[in-house]
Each structure stands twice: as structure tokens, then as C-alpha cells.
């Protein structure tokens, strides 16, 4: 397709030589994609795979909400329902949320943002993707064989002794995906330490990079504990003796300690990159420096560290000692502080900014509001006395969906819109982008806000049938899910459309700062034609002035 000759070295941009092809044009065969070392191509590979898993997990959610639209358990059997919410959880947590922003946007942007040519270990990056696909396929095989009914939390002794479903196969899949995460985290940490452009000190790094660094530390320290826990569960299932079986002197709570030691930091793996995305979008569309940059960076580190200290708050009613529960409750309150600092600072950034409501900004604003609701309700369930009433109800379900969907998924979509022009060289249709954002926001709230009320009134989670008194709220929630699904499907169409349209993006359609915007869209394989300029201050947006327009590139590239 490209008439530009393949360059073997980057060329000086003085017009005398043909520019190097973009990374998308640098080889068109399937083999060139499947054997690539280019972090940008690997990011695209991840983007395609996680989208597939997102829709599979979404299909499970659709069936769940369909079942819950009526009080009777009339759509699926209770057994199938258990398998549906397990599939939804396993796929959405491990195959979508955990890899989403880091493996797609982290992979694509971290080298660009620090002025590097690629990650520190490009081949390890490709291996990460293959491990992710392998693990995902194993999970799908388990699903096809009949699924798992333990819940994504796999509590012993049900998972180890009593479940008749494909626990071991699923856990092997999770184990493999875990190693994909670990290698990605390792790669990011080494990259940020060793490949920053000259002059790019730590406190000149974009908050997106800080967020991914902290996420990578969590990935590296927490995921191995999940790995050994899955091995122990599989061993106990196969050998009939294990450390989680009280009849042999073991303890089911030991499983929960080990599981949640990973799974609580895991939620910070899911939210910190989202916060990094929001910190990139808000200053750009408010045309203002981020408020309190250093505190934002410290807050990221604070969330990552304190996040390791709170796992017992998932175990308040499990039989954990009261003393331990008190400690974990207190620590859980503490982790709200750095999160709140970030929300305050985003708000302060907006104050007296020159705000543009482009699609990325709509998603970022949605994140700030919905994450705040999710975070505040987290305090509710962190209080011991309240949690006794609220645990295992829909209140908890609503709480974590506000953060993971209202937060992380919205930020994912915000990132998708913000960096779509950079990654593809095309502009998405702005009107449709805004429509989708509004649909998602409205649909999300209609789906999940009633669930807070359901939970407070006693509706338990993981039940496929319920008393008639909960019918109206469940109906509202299921109706909201329809709107939400429409909102999620819409981008599929207009993003695909944009790939075919003639409208090309320039290097910087949003007038954003950040080294990634200095290179063309899409970037060449080696990321930069010229040595990028390291700015004096990151986020040094000018005070309100003439607004940059979303104009296509003057002098479009030869097609």
C-alpha cells in the first residue's frame, strides 16, 4: 500500500530523503505482526485481544442482567447463573481490566512519553502478549467445557473440594495470564529506569508514566502470590490434601489471605493507570497545568504502597480475628487519603481552566465523578459495623463497578479517544464520540446506582432469583444495562468507520503537551524522526488563549 521505500535508519527530516514508514506501514504480512518487537504493534495486538474478551465478558453480563430483570429464576438454572457471574468476573478482571490500560496504552505510550525507541526488553513484550493469549484461550476452553461456578474469587473449600466444574483448567489459564502481567510490569520498570531521554528527570515525567511505574511495581510484587495460590488450589483439587482443608489441619482462610493479598492490590493495578490517563486528559482540555504535580506523583506511590496493607477488608465476616479486622479497617480508611488528594487536584486543575468538552474530556470528567462515588462507598464497606450488613450484597457490587467500570473502563475509553489519532493517524467523528460518552455515563448510572439501594435493602449478590420487593430496582438496572451496552457498541462502529475515512490526523490534533505528540501520527517504527525536545515543565499548558482546532494535517501524507 505504501509507496514510500522502506528506510533502514531514521532520516533527517530535511525533506531530501523519504521519511521512514509509519509503524502501521512497516510490513503488512500477518507474520510481520505476529513476530513484531515493536511496542506499538504489540499494543495493537493487545487492543484487539482485550476487545474480544471485553465483549465475551459483556455477553455474560448481558445474560446476568436479563435473568435479573424478573424475580423468578426463569432464564437460566442456578448452576448456569453461577457459571455466568464467574465467567464475567474471571474474564473482566484478568482478561480485560488488568491488562487493559497498561498493555495497550502503557505499551504504546511509555516509550514515546520518555523519548525512547522501545521498551527495555522488546522480545519479552511479545512473549507477554503470547502468554496472555494462551492464558485467555485456556480460560475459554474451560468455559466451553462447561465453565466454573465458584465465583471469580475461587474460595476454598468449595473450589478445592466440592465444585464439580472446571476449576483446575481455569486456574491454569489465570496462572499463565499472571505471568504475562509480571513480564509487562518488569519491562516497564526497567524501561523507566534506564531509557529516559537525557534531561528527563523523574519529576518531569508525565503522571501517566508515574502511574504505570507504580502499577508495574504492584504487578511484580502481588501477582506471584496469586500464582502460588492457584497452584495450591489445583494441587489440593488433584491430591485431595492441602493447606486449605480443615479436616487435615489446614485453614480455608489461608486461601483468602493469599488470594486477597494479590487481589486487593490488583484493584489498584486496575485504577492507577486509569488515573494516569485522566491526569493526561484533564490538563489538555482545561488548558491548565495539573494542580499539585508532586502531590499527584506521591499520591500514586501512596496508593500503591498502602494498597498492599488492606486486603483483610475483604474478610471481615469470614472468621478473621477482630483485632486483624480492626487493623485492616483502619488501614483501608488511610488508603482513601491519597485517592482523595488526586480527586481534589483534578478538580483544582479544572478550576478557572478553559474547558473543552471533547469526547476524551467527557470520559475523564465521568471518571472523576464516578470514581469519587465508588471511593466514598468504599469507606462505607471499610467500616466494620456497616460491612457486616453490606457485605455480599449488591452494595459491594455497585461499589466496585463504580470504580472499575465507572472509573477504569471510562478512562480506557477516554484514552482510546485521546490517543486514537496518534496511534492510527485518523480522527474519530467527534459528535459520535460525545454521544457514546453520554450514553455510557447515563447507562452506567442507571445500571449501577439502583444496586446501591438494592444492597442496602438486603439483596444478596450472586443470587439468580429474588423476592418481588426488589423487582423495580432490578428492572431499572437491567434497563440501564441496555443503554450501557449501546454506548459500548457505538465506538466499534465509528472507530472502524474512521479507519476508512480520508480525514487524517496531524501530529497533535488536541494541542496537547507531552513528548508523544511531537512525533507524527501514526509514529514511525523507531518512534521519532528527530530527537524529541524535553520540556522544561511537564503540563506547561499556556493560560487560556486561541483554541487549537481539530484540523487534519496540512499536507496529508501520501496514501
Amino acid at each position: 500500500m505504501s509507496s514510500v521505500a522502506e528506510a533502514t535508519i531514521d532520516r533527517v527530516g530535511d525533506g531530501s530523503a523519504a521519511p521512514a514508514p509509519s509503524y502501521l506501514d512497516d510490513g503488512h504480512s500477518l507474520r510481520s505482526w505476529l513476530t513484531t518487537h515493536d511496542h506499538k504493534r504489540i499494543a495493537i495486538l493487545y487492543a484487539i485481544s482485550i476487545t474480544v474478551f471485553f465483549f465475551i465478558g459483556g455477553l455474560a453480563a448481558t445474560l446476568i442482567r436479563l435473568e435479573l430483570a424478573t424475580p423468578a429464576g426463569d432464564l437460566v438454572s442456578h448452576d448456569t447463573y453461577n457459571k455466568l457471574f464467574t465467567a464475567h468476573g474471571v474474564i473482566m478482571v484478568w482478561l480485560f481490566l488488568i491488562p487493559s490500560i497498561p498493555s495497550v496504552f502503557g505499551n504504546f505510550l511509555v516509550p514515546l512519553m520518555i523519548g525512547a525507541r522501545d521498551l527495555a526488553f522488546p522480545r519479552l513484550n511479545l512473549l507477554s502478549w503470547y502468554l496472555y493469549v494462551l492464558g485467555g484461550l485456556i480460560v475459554l476452553v474451560a468455559l466451553a467445557l462447561g465453565g466454573v461456578d465458584t465465583g471469580w474469587t475461587f474460595y476454598a473449600p468449595y473450589s478445592t473440594m466440592f465444585s464439580n466444574s472446571w476449576v483446575a483448567v481455569t486456574l491454569v489459564g489465570v496462572f499463565v495470564v499472571g505471568f504475562s502481567s509480571i513480564l509487562t510490569g518488569l519491562n516497564f520498570i526497567v524501561t523507566v529506569h534506564t531509557l529516559r531521554a537525557p534531561g528527563l528527570g523523574w519529576f518531569k515525567l508525565p503522571l501517566f508514566v508515574w502511574a504505570h511505574y507504580a502499577t508495574s511495581v504492584i504487578l511484580v510484587l502481588a501477582t506471584p502470590v496469586l500464582a502460588i495460590t492457584t497452584l495450591l488450589v489445583v494441587a489440593e483439587r488433584l491430591l485431595q490434601i492441602g493447606v486449605f482443608d480443615p479436616a487435615h489441619g489446614g485453614d480455608p482462610l489461608l486461601f483468602q489471605h493469599l488470594f486477597w493479598f494479590y487481589s486487593h492490590p490488583a484493584v489498584y493495578i486496575m485504577v492507577l493507570p486509569a488515573m494516569g490517563v485522566v491526569s493526561e486528559i484533564v490538563p489538555c482540555f482545561a488548558r491548565k497545568r495539573i494542580f499539585g504535580y508532586r502531590f499527584m506523583a506521591y499520591a500514586i506511590l501512596g496508593i500503591a504502597s498502602i494498597g498492599f496493607l488492606v486486603w483483610g477488608h475483604h474478610m471481615f465476616v469470614s472468621g478473621q480475628s477482630l483485632a486483624a479486622s480492626l487493623v485492616f479497617s483502619l488501614l483501608s480508611f488511610l488508603v482513601a487519603i491519597p485517592s482523595a488528594i488526586k480527586v481534589f487536584n483534578w478538580t483544582a486543575t479544572l478550576y478557572k481552566g478553559s474547558i473543552r468538552f471533547d469526547a476524551p474530556m467527557l470520559y475523564a470528567l465521568g471518571f472523576i465523578g464516578l470514581f469519587t462515588v465508588g471511593g466514598l462507598t468504599g469507606l462505607f464497606v471499610a467500616s466494620l459495623a456497616l460491612d457486616v450488613h453490606l457485605t455480599d450484597t449488591y452494595f459491594v457490587v455497585a461499589h466496585f463497578h463504580y470504580i472499575m467500570v465507572g472509573g477504569s473502563v471510562m478512562a480506557f475509553f477516554g484514552a482510546l479517544h485521546f490517543w486514537w489519532p496518534k496511534a492510527t493517524g485518523r480522527l474519530y467523528p467527534e459528535v459520535w464520540g460525545r454521544i457514546a460518552a453520554v450514553l455510557i455515563f447515563v447507562g452506567f448510572n442507571l445500571t449501577f446506582f439502583p444496586q446501591f439501594l438494592l444492597g442496602m435493602r438486603g439483596m444478596p449478590r450472586r443470587y439468580h432469583a429474588y423476592p418481588a420487593e426488589f423487582h423495580q430496582l432490578h428492572m431499572a438496572s437491567s434497563a440501564g444495562a441496555v443503554v450501557l451496552a449501546l454506548g459500548y457498541l457505538l465506538p466499534l462502529f465509528y472507530f472502524s468507520y474512521s479507519l476508512r475515512s480520508a480525514c487524517r490526523a496531524g501530529a497533535n490534533p488536541f494541542g496537547a503537551l507531552g513528548i508523544e505528540w511531537q512525533t507524527r501520527s501514526p509514529p514511525p517504527t523507531h518512534n521519532f524522526d528527530r530527537t524529541p525536545v524535553v520540556p522544561e515543565h511537564v503540563y506547561d499548558y499556556a493560560p487560556p488563549g486561541p483554541r487549537p482546532t481539530r484540523a487534519p494535517a496540512a499536507g496529508a501524507k501520501a496514501s
Partner: protein
Amino acid sequence: MKHACLRDHARALAVAWAALLALMLASLGSAYLRLGAGNAAVGLAIAVIKSAIVVWLFMRLRTSSATVRIVAATALATLLLLIGLASVDYATRPVEPAAYELPRQTPSLAGARPVQGAR
């Protein structure tokens, strides 16, 4: 590393190696003494010292960059956190161990198994 320097380095390694073997034998010997709870403490303490020799000298943490040292320290701290904070539960929980049962017959190694009888 030049030849003379290499010889010195080899000598330092040999001394460390001898120390490690001596500590190993001390650990072995201490297990035969009647120390009660002290057995575990001594065994662990000696293991920690041996590990420190390997990590500090053999793995060259002594001359490594600050970044590497922070990585090592953070990993150790996280491990201690896991063990320590989980122990808060076990230390303060009133435990009544279930009556001990003989192990059951091992079932087939297929993914699905028949439901166990309720106990």
C-alpha cells in the same frame, strides 16, 4: 578483572564459602540440641545470615546501584508484610482445630470430580 585482582576476589569467595559451610554445620548441630522454641529461632537466624552472605557478597548487593538495592529491600519488605500481617489474624484468632480425620482415598485426576459427602 585483572589476574591479581581475580586471585584476591577468589580468595574472598573461598572465605565466604567456608563460612557458609561452617554455618550450615552449626545449623545442623543446633537441631540436635534440646532448645524448644529456640530450635526454630536458631535455624532461621543462621539461614538469614547465610542468605545475607550470598546476597551481599555473591550477588554483589554490596556494590550494586541504589535502584537494585531498593528492589531487593522492597521485595523482602513485601514478603515480611505478607507473613506479618497475615499472622496478626492467626495470632489473635481463637482457634479450635477441627477433629483430625484420616485422609480420603485419592480420586481420579480428571478436572471434574464427584461431589464429596457432607461432613
